[in-house]
Symmetry: C2
Subunit: 214 residues, 2 copies
C-alpha cells in the first residue's frame, strides 16, 4: 500500500496534508470516490485501501463528508491559485489567457482522477461546505472574466458575451478531466497548447487566416 500511495502522492497535490496517515487516507478516498462514486464508498473501504483500520481513520476524519470536503477544498484552492496567478501576471490579455488555459488544462489532465471527484461530487457536500466551495468557484470564474474584460477593453479581444465565453472557457478546460487518459495520444502539455490556441481563437485574438470567398 505504501508504494502505491507514495506514487499517487508524488503525482497529486497532497503534500500539504499532514501527517502521512491523513495524506494516505485522502489519496485512498480520491481513488475510491473516483472508482465507485461517493455514495457507494464507505469509510471502511477507504481505511482498507490505505491499509488502516476504520478506527485509525476516525482519528483523522470524523465523517466521509469531511474527507470529500478536504479533497474538494484542496482542489478548488489549487484551481483558484492557477487562475488568479495567470490573471494577475504582467503582460497583455492574450498572454495571460494563454497561461491560464495552459496551466488549468495541464492540472485537469495530470490530476484527472482528483479533478473528477472535485467536479462531480459537489452535490454530496454538506450545505455549509457547498456554499464555501461555490464561493471559490465564483472567484475562479471572476479571474477568467477579468482577463476577457481586460482584453476587450484593450482592443485585443472581440467577445460579444463575456460571462458566456468565460463559462465556455472554464467548461472546456474542466471537461479534460472526463476524457483525458494517460494512455491517450496527447500529453497534458500538448492538450494545454492545443486548448490555449483554441481559446485565443474563441476570443478573436488569433489572426483570421482564411479569406472570405476563397
Amino acid at each position: 500500500m505504501d508504494s502505491a500511495a507514495e506514487t499517487a502522492g508524488g503525482y497529486q497535490p497532497w503534500s500539504e496534508v499532514t501527517p502521512d496517515a491523513a495524506r494516505r487516507l485522502l489519496i485512498a478516498a480520491v481513488e475510491a470516490f473516483a472508482e465507485r462514486g461517493y455514495h457507494a464508498t464507505t469509510t471502511r473501504d477507504i481505511a482498507g485501501r490505505a491499509g488502516m483500520s476504520p478506527a485509525a481513520l476516525y482519528i483523522h476524519y470524523k465523517t466521509k463528508e469531511e474527507l470529500l470536503h478536504r479533497i474538494s477544498r484542496i482542489g478548488h484552492d489549487k484551481a483558484l491559485e492557477i487562475l488568479t496567478t495567470a490573471a494577475d501576471a504582467p503582460g497583455g490579455a492574450a498572454e495571460r489567457l494563454d497561461a491560464a488555459v495552459r496551466s488549468f488544462v495541464r492540472w485537469h489532465a495530470a490530476h484527472h482522477t482528483t479533478a473528477r471527484v472535485v467536479q462531480y461530487e459537489l452535490d454530496a457536500l454538506a450545505p455549509e461546505h457547498r456554499s464555501e466551495i461555490v464561493a471559490l468557484r465564483r472567484q475562479s470564474d471572476a479571474a477568467v472574466r477579468r482577463i476577457l474584460a481586460d482584453g476587450v477593453e484593450a482592443g485585443e479581444f472581440d467577445v460579444p458575451d463575456v460571462p458566456g465565453t468565460t463559462l465556455a472557457v472554464l467548461s472546456l478546460c474542466i471537461d479534460v478531466a472526463r476524457w483525458f487518459s494517460v494512455s491517450g495520444p496527447r500529453t497534458p502539455d500538448e492538450v494545454g497548447a492545443l486548448y490555449a490556441d483554441l481559446v485565443l481563437r474563441m476570443v478573436g485574438a488569433r489572426p483570421h487566416e482564411v479569406q472570405p470567398g476563397t
Copy 2:
C-alpha cells in the same frame, strides 16, 4: 409516482421504450443513477421510485447493468443521430457545424440528467456493452471530424489539428450536461447559439474583427 414519471417522460427521449412499465423503470433508473451514482443504486431503489415491486422490475430488466446499458444505448444513438444528421445535411461546412453544435448542445442542456448518466457511468458497463458504446462514440466523433475536414478542404476553415479540434468541440458540448441548470440564466437554445458562434471561431470560420495593433 405516475405524474412525476410522465413529466420526466415528456422531457426525456424515452418514447421508444415500451411497455409503459419498462419506460417508467428506465426514467426511475436515470434519476437514481444521477442522484446517487450507479454503484450506490440498487434495483430495489429503482423499483421503489417507479412505484413497482422488485419482482415487477425483473420482468423487464434482468440486472441493473441492463438498465444502464439501455439508457446508455438510447443516449448514444440519439447523439449519433444528431451529429450525422448535421454532417449529412446539404450546405457549407460552417452551416453544418453550426447545426451540429446547436442541436448537440440543446440535447445536453435539455436532457442534462440523462446525459450525465450517459457520460459519467461508461466504466460501469459490462465489457461487451462498453465496446458497443465506444463504437458509437467513434462514429459520433467521425461525423464531426468529417465536417471539419470538409471545411478545411473547401477553404472555409483554418484548423491545424482536426482530430484535436474535433475532441475539443465534442467535449465543450458534452460538458454542458455538467453545468446546465434549468434555474440558470440561459435557455438550451441560447447556450446552443452561443456555442455555435464560439465553435465557428475555433475553426477560423468567423471574420476576425479586431485589427492587429489597435
